[in-house]
Structures are given as C-alpha cells and as structure tokens.
C-alpha cells in the first residue's frame, strides 16, 4: 500500500466546490423528454372508440366507457378509453396501435392526490393541466404497421384487355393474400353497425384468417343469402367506416367475401346442412326476385313457411342480373347462388308478371305478401329530342346485353348522360361493344354519386368525361344524332349541400354521336297495385312508406328494397328483406 492511496480518496472533497448535478425541485423543474411516455391525452373528436387500445393493453388499464360528450354514430362506437393509473405501466402500446392516432401521451409525469379514484379518468373528457401539451409520446408514422399494415393488392385485368371482353375485371385473391388481408382485422366491429344487414364481419374475417372458409360462408348466410353477389358488387358501407381506413386502407371486406364463396363450386352444397323448420302451413307470396325478395323468401322458407316468389324476368337476381354488367357480376355467379334458394325450399316462379288482378288474388291466396319490385321506371331528361330513335335509357341497354346476350354494336361514338353507377356501367358496356364513349355530367367528378373505383376504372378504359355539361336538346342529323349541351358553373349551396350546376347562358356545344344513353335515375312504378290498395298505402316520392318491420300498414302487405325509401343498393335491399322476415314471422307466428 502506498501513501498516496491514503490521501487520494480525500481528493473527492474537490467535488463539493463544484456545481451540483441534481435539480433543486420544485424551484427548478425537470420536464420529461419530448417523447416521454407520461399521462395520456385523447382527441375525443378524432377517436372512434374502436377499442383497439383496450384490447392491446396487457394490464387492462384501459376500459372503453360511454361518455356524455360523444354519441354513437356510424363509424364511432361512442365509447372512449378510460385509463387507470393503478394498472398502467406506461408502455404506450395503446398509442402505437391507435387506429386514428387520437391517443397520445404527454411528457407530464407529476401528479399527486390523496384520492386514489382520481387516477382513473377519461383523457380528453376530464380536463387535466396537460391536455394541451404538444410534447410527449405520439404515434409514429413509420411504424403505422402496428395499426394494420398495408392492404393486399387485388389483381385486375389490364384496361386494354378489359374493353375487349365481358370477363370479370377483378380476378380475385389467391389464398395467401386473402388470409393475410383478413388477418389485418382488429375485430373492433365498427363495420357491423355500418352494414345495413349487420353481417357478422369480424367473425367471418377471423374465420378466413384462420382458413375456416366453410365457416365463413355459413356466417355469411346467417344474414345474407347472396354473399357472392355482395362479394363482387356491394357498395361496402363497412369499408367506409373500417377503423384501419382512418390512417391507412380499410380491409378489403367485400373481396374477402367474394374469395370465401368462390372457394366453393356449389354454395348449395355448403348450405345443405341448414335445416328447415317444420312446415307451418302458412303461405307467403313475394313479388320480385331481386335481393330484397330473395332474402325474405330464404329466411321465411327456413322458418317453415311456404314461400312463392313471382318475377317477370326469366331468372332470379332482379336488377343485379339485368342491370349490373357481366364484367362485375357474371350470370354464372348468380345461377350458383340461386341453387341455394331452391334447396331451402323456396318456390321460384319466373316469367310471371304481377298485375292488378293477380295482385288481388295473391292477397286472398296467401297469408302475407311482400312487395319487392324494385325500380322499374327510368327518369327522363325532359329535353327536346328525347324521343328520337337512338335515344335510349341506359337500363334498357344494360338489360338487353345482360338478359338477351345481345352484343350488337351501338355505333362508333355514343354519349352517356349521368354520373351515377348506372352511367358508369352503361359507358363501360358501350365501350366493350366497341364505341368511343363520352360521359356527360352536370357537376364535377367529385360530385358524382358513382363509386370512386368505378370512376377510376371507367377513366382507365378510355371513357371521356365531360363534366359541368348540361343537356340542352338532341337533334337528328342524317343517320346520326346531334347532342347539344351547355356549360355549367357551380353555385355554392347556401345550406352547405353539394354545389349546384347553373347553365352559363350562351354556351352551346354540339357532339355528333350514334346513340344517346340516358342514365339520370330510376323511378318507382306502382301501376301493378289495384287502386283500393294503393289508396291505403302511404307513398313518398312514389315509394311505399313502411315501418321498422317493413309493414305497409295494409294488413298482410309488406314491402322492401328499392321500392321503399332509403338507400338503393343491394345490401340495403337485403336488410329490408331481413326486417320483412321479422315482421312477417311476427304476423304469422304470433
């Protein structure tokens, strides 16, 4: 041992003369780091209450609770996370997985209270000093994968191939992609309330993710007897509210439904297991074999009732068969789905138009009648020249191609007037029949009621969009037609609605075409109802008003689908069918 070893430790006293390393709290504060995981904050407006945070929290520190400030609305459960700091371990997994990015943590870490219950609170609802803090831990964009990952790409036919054929544009998922896509689901269930038919979406996505495809199909059939059709053409309200859509892309719910049904050559085979209840001896007549009519028929038949479906067409499916083009929904797919109805014991009577007198006899022969006739009339432009030869409703074109397999050319150049899905379908069909297509629409592209996907695909196929064009009149010029239109300017709506188009005086352009197809909307036609019945019905804009059970108010008569007010799409028609089942069963079974 050296002498210096005795001295050296005393040199430590030198530190006493230097500045201390510690902070003199509370006079000197020490804020948490900018990404410190401190107390929670939540943007209540942004939050959709999906419950992802609650699910990921391994400490059960979060509890989704109703709050007085937020209410249930489509795409929002109205619940908000309540945090318990007796349980939280400050891992911030909840922040990382938040589907909207509303949840965050501030860099505040000091909070004392003698009341232990205070440490359980709903961030954003109960005001805290750190509510406005911009510092602290937030979700990072580059690890957003935590909230779901990217959507699997759907293979489609390239546009130049598409326009030569009526083959399906969408080619369908391969199994690996479907399973991976389904596995993105976070099981929040927001989609269920958005789906008009309230299909059990999280359950069937889980089944697909676990490769239980047969289970998935059975789950579809619990409340949708046309799952393959919906898997191809549904308006997918579910995807619009998908929690993953807030920061990324929603799950391809529609394509997954299609994938699962297409796994089976025969859906009737899969659904054979479902047994009918013992016959009740009650009889139900359904007018219209569209989605609404078929849905009601299917579940009423399973409930043991004797169901007969009457339709003027030769095959089932309604407008989904006559209107929707083959490249979106092939005939064979509908045929495959129709087998299931036969199996369930539904009697299908095609080629049977119900007129006033037959309606009266249906009323006396059957215990209940369900009217599901859809929209049979087409709206008119009300311009000069509309009745010229060569001017036709888009629906007629579609029906001719779909039902009569009539693929005869429609000329070199045509104009389609409208901006909805029917206009897109007619344009793209005309394109496939070899024509150059001009689409004339009064407003702007962003105002089009047509699905964005449809608009995109129509553009890819070379449809020329002439927006803000107002039809003036149609003239005939030799063998051709002259379509005359003016320009429109957009006038902001005082009430905050869509801006309105107004004709700019003095503008007039002409377009020489072979044909004009009008797609400005469909209209209800109640002409098949005897006067004594229609007099008793409540009618609004030509549509039959019904209650929550689709009951018309006239004893024994129910109505649903496009012929009743509400959204005009297949899944809404199916939902009407389901409600009618409830109403009719209540009537028949007491």
């Amino acid at each position: 041992m050296k002498f210096t070893n005795i001295i050296s430790p005393f040199l430590a006293w030198g530190r006493a003369a230097k500045k201390a390393d510690t902070v003199a709290f509370p006079s000197a504060d020490r804020p948490g780091a900018p990404r410190y995981r401190g107390f929670h904050i939540n943007d209540l407006e942004k939050c959709i209450g999906c419950g992802r945070c609650e699910e990921i929290c391994q400490n059960a520190a979060l509890d989704m609770t109703p709050t007085p400030l937020t209410q249930f609305k489509e795409g929002d459960t109205g619940l908000r996370p309540r945090v318990d700091y007796g349980r939280c371990c400050w891992c911030a997994l909840c922040v990382d997985v938040c589907s909207t990015g509303s949840l965050g943590m501030t860099n505040e870490y000091l909070w004392s209270s003698v009341d232990a219950d205070e440490f359980i609170y709903t961030p954003g609802l109960e005001a805290k000093p750190w509510d406005d803090s911009s510092r602290g831990y937030r979700q990072a964009q580059d690890i957003l994968g935590w909230a779901g990952g990217a959507r699997r790409e759907m293979p489609v036919l390239p546009p130049d191939e598409r326009i030569k054929t009526f083959d399906e544009v969408v080619m369908g998922f391969i199994e690996e992609d479907a399973v991976a896509e389904a596995a993105r689901c976070i099981q929040c269930g927001l989609c269920v309330s958005a789906c008009p038919a309230h299909m059990h979406i999280p359950e069937y996505l889980l089944a697909i993710a676990e490769r239980r495809f047969r289970d998935a199909v059975e789950i579809f059939y619990q409340n949708n007897p046309l799952p393959e059709m919906c898997g191809k053409v549904c308006t997918r309200r579910c995807e619009m509210v998908c929690a993953l859509g807030h920061q990324g892309e929603p799950i391809a719910i529609r394509w997954l439904k299609r994938f699962a049904t297409e796994r089976f050559d025969s859906l009737a085979e899969v659904m054979r297991m479902w047994e009918r209840k013992a016959p009740t001896g009650k009889q139900v007549a359904v007018i219209g074999a569209g989605p609404a009519g078929l849905t009601a028929a299917y579940y009423l038949a399973l409930a043991g009732h004797d169901v007969e479906v009457f339709d003027a067409d030769r095959k089932g499916g309604g407008v989904t068969r006559s209107g929707i083009p083959m490249y979106r929904l092939p005939d064979q797919s509908l045929d495959k789905q129709m087998e299931v109805f036969k199996n369930a014991g539904v009697t299908l009577r095609f080629g049977q138009t119900i007129d006033q007198s037959r309606f009266v006899s249906l009323c006396s022969d059957f215990d209940a009648v369900f009217i599901a006739v859809g929209l049979t009339g087409a709206l008119r432009l009300r311009i000069e020249g509309e009745d010229l030869g060569g001017v036709e409703s888009a629906l007629d074109l579609l029906a001719r191609v779909n039902l009569e397999d009539d693929a005869s050319p429609v000329g070199e150049r045509v104009v389609v007037i409208g901006g909805g899905n029917v206009a897109m379908d007619a344009s793209r069909v005309a394109r496939r029949l070899g024509a150059q297509v001009v689409l004339s629409y009064r407003r702007r592209v962003q105002d089009m009621p047509a699905d964005d996907e449809e608009i995109e695909e129509a553009k890819e196929e070379g449809i020329e969009f002439r927006t803000q064009t107002i039809p003036l009149r149609i003239e005939s010029r030799g063998s051709k037609l002259l379509y005359l239109y003016g320009n429109a300017e957009m006038i902001p709506d005082q009430k905050g609605g869509r801006p309105r188009p107004r004709l700019m005086e003095g503008t007039e352009h002409e377009l020489e075409v072979d044909r004009v197809f009008v797609a400005v909307g469909q209209a209800p036609d109640l002409g098949f109802l005897p006067k004594e019945i229609s007099d008793q019905l409540k009618v609004d804009w030509g549509k039959i008003v019904v209650d929550a059970d689709q009951f018309t108010g006239v004893p024994g008569i129910f109505a649903g689908g496009d012929i009743t007010p509400g959204r005009d799409d297949a899944i809404s028609a199916i939902a009407d069918g389901l409600r009618a089942v409830r109403g009719i069963r209540r009537l028949l079974e007491g």
């Binding site: 041992m1 430790p9 430590a12 990921i56 391994q58 690890i143």
Partner: protein, 370 residues
C-alpha cells in the same frame, strides 16, 4: 454440516437490508465474525413472468420482459425480440441493429457505473455510490430522450426499434460520454486508488478458475479469472462482429479484479458507443409487423442470447404456432451467481464482507425469481 448451537448465530440478512443486492436475502450461520454456512433465500420478487407470458399475445410480452431485470432492462428486450425474429423469420433493418447495439451499450454503461458505485457503497464509501448513481442518471437522461422512459425503455421491439433517434441525439450522447470520461479519474481515485477499498477487496471473495466451468460462471465472474468469454465476440449478435474490441479480462478472481473488469468495461462501452455512432447507417428502423392481435408465430423453438453486464443472458422461446408463446424460459446469469456460487463463497467469508461479496457478483434478484 453440524453447527454448534452454543457458538453459532443464525442471521437473517435481508431482504430489507441496504447491503443486499435487491430483494433477496441470505440466511447466514455465523461463528464469531466468520460465516460457516449461507443459504440464498430468493422468491421475494417472484411475479410468475414466465407463466404470465404464456397467456399474453406475443406483443403484449414486449412491455413485460424488460421488468425481468430493473438495472439492465434492455437485454431482455433484445433477447425476446431476437427470439421472435428467429421464429417468425423477420429480417431486422440494419440501422435498427446498430441502434440496438447503441442502446445495449448505453445500458451496460449505466449499470456498470451504478454497480461500481455500489461496490464502494457496501464498504461505507457512500460518495462512490452517489457518484455512480449520478453518472448513470446522465445515461438514463439519454435513454429517456431516446425511448420515452428512464428505466423501462421498451425500445427494442421485435422487428427493429421503436423510434429513430431524435435529431442531434449523437452529439448529446458524446457530451455525456465526455462528462463521464472527465469524471472517471476522480472516481478511480476514490475507489481503486483508495487504501480502504484495496484492503477490503484484494484477496477477498476469490473465485477459483476451475469453478468457472464447473458452475457455468459468465461475465465479469469468469473474465476476472482470466477467461476471455463474451457473447459479443464468441457468438456475435446484432452488429458486434463489425466492431473492433478486445474482451476485458483480469486475473486474480477477487472482488478487486471484478471491480476492475467492470471499470474497464465502462471504458470499453464508451469506445464501442463512439464506434457505433460513427458507423450507424441510414435506413428504416423497423419492419412492418402484422396485425398485433392476430400475430401468430410459426411453431418452433429458439434460444437467443446476449452479453449482459453480468454475462450471458438468454431466452428460450417455444411457439406452437399460436397467438401466444407456448413457453418462455429466461436464463439469467444471476441464478448461478446468486445461488450456487454465492452459497459456496459465503463459507469462510467475514460477516462484514457479505454484502461486498454479493455486490461484486452483481446479483440481480428479479432475474432469478422472474
């Protein structure tokens, strides 16, 4: 062994005792000043982590594993992440591997500063303990800035790291390294040049080289006996094969030698951190993980290990292809060091040296109990 009840005092040392390393106790049979028998009593920190992990989703264990060892949480995160990546076949981005090494070295630096200070503390050099803790706090400031938490960083996540570094981070790391380097001579004078420290540690608590393989001793316990064993070199993980360094060894196997190993490990970590900061490439810091609540990991079993400040630290993870681990077993070095080795070494130790000895074995009870 038979003890004479007239001469022997049975002493319960811990778990509430400042000289004990964390929440454990040793039961001592003492004759005069000398311990004749000692039994490690563990279990005070048993939280059932391994069992708990079988009931949680793969990702939910990520905030759990760091709690396995409080002073050096990150080794747990690294092992768990590595095990999952091996099972799931995930390729971690290169930048993330460098940043992981950075975090692991910062953590090692912090824990060595603390335990070296603690080594002083056990013989009454409270100043050393305070300083050690303070310098570690400088490191914790950095880890807080990087990860958002001071102790439980939850930064090394399966698939990468949780965040990129904040801007200007490396320069702040450098400042801390310089501060520590500047203060270390002071620290050395207080400890290694101190006659009291020398007297209380030299020739005391000697580990015999033949015990190293017999008991499976690792880290400073083995390295202070001349064995150059370090997972960072023997079985390099992350990017350690790309760093230039020599494994620190000392001979003598006593408390002093182990303290010196840790002192030199501090210098090594500082050097490695500088190498890492110079060479960390740009790029992404994490891969996109699948839906975390539906994440199934293919069936299989792996052993992932890293070099902790206490030696080889490993996780054995079994998956049956499900949403949760089938089994996770944690192999920390403290079990051998704190039970088998300690019990052997306690015999013949002076009662005043018990805590001195325990700290020199860097026993981490939460890692024994799990």
């Amino acid at each position: 062994m038979r003890t004479d009840p007239q001469k022997t005092v049975r002493l319960f040392f811990g778990p509430q005792h400042p000289g004990v390393t964390g929440n454990m106790s040793v039961e001592l049979w003492v004759e005069g000043d000398e311990v004749t028998k000692g039994i490690s009593r563990v279990g005070y920190l048993h939280r059932g982590f391994e069992k708990l992990m079988e009931r949680r989703l793969w990702i939910q264990n990520f905030p759990l594993v760091c709690r396995m060892c409080v002073p050096e949480t990150d080794v747990n995160e690294a092992c768990y992440a590595e095990a999952l990546e091996l099972l799931a076949g995930i390729d971690v981005p290169v930048r993330a591997r460098w940043l992981r090494a950075l975090v692991l070295e910062l953590a090692r630096l912090g824990v060595n500063l603390m335990s070296l200070g603690g080594q002083g503390g056990t013989i009454g050099l409270g100043t050393a303990a305070q300083w050690g803790i303070t310098y570690r706090d400088f490191v914790l400031d950095l880890l807080e800035e990087l990860s958002g938490g001071r102790i439980y960083h939850m930064f090394i996540l399966p698939g990468g790291v949780r965040r990129d570094i904040p801007s200007g981070f490396f320069s702040r790391v450098e400042t801390v390294l310089e501060t520590i380097e500047e203060r270390l001579p002071e620290f050395d004078r207080l400890l290694f040049d101190n006659a009291v420290f020398q007297t209380r540690t030299q020739g005391i608590g000697v580990i015999r080289p033949e015990w190293v393989d017999e008991l499976g001793l690792v880290g400073p316990m083995a390295r202070a006996c001349g064995f150059a064993r370090d997972v960072r070199q023997d079985d390099a993980y992350e990017i350690y094969d790309q760093l230039a360094f020599d494994v620190v060894t000392e001979t003598g196997g006593d408390i002093f030698a182990r303290a010196l190993v840790r002192r030199r490990d501090i210098a090594l970590s500082i050097d490695l951190i500088r190498q890492i900061m110079k060479r960390t490439p740009d790029g992404p810091v994490a891969v996109q993980l699948p839906n975390l609540t539906r994440w199934r990991i293919p069936a299989g079993e792996v052993y992932a290990k890293v070099e902790s400040s206490r030696g080889e630290y490993g996780y054995y993870v079994v998956s049956d292809g499900g949403l949760r681990p089938r089994r996770v077993h944690v192999r920390g070095p403290s079990y051998v060091h704190g039970v088998t080795l300690l019990e052997r070494m306690l015999v013949g130790t002076n009662i005043a040296d018990v805590s001195n000895l325990m700290v020199s074995l860097t026993i981490c009870p939460p890692e024994i109990d799990r």
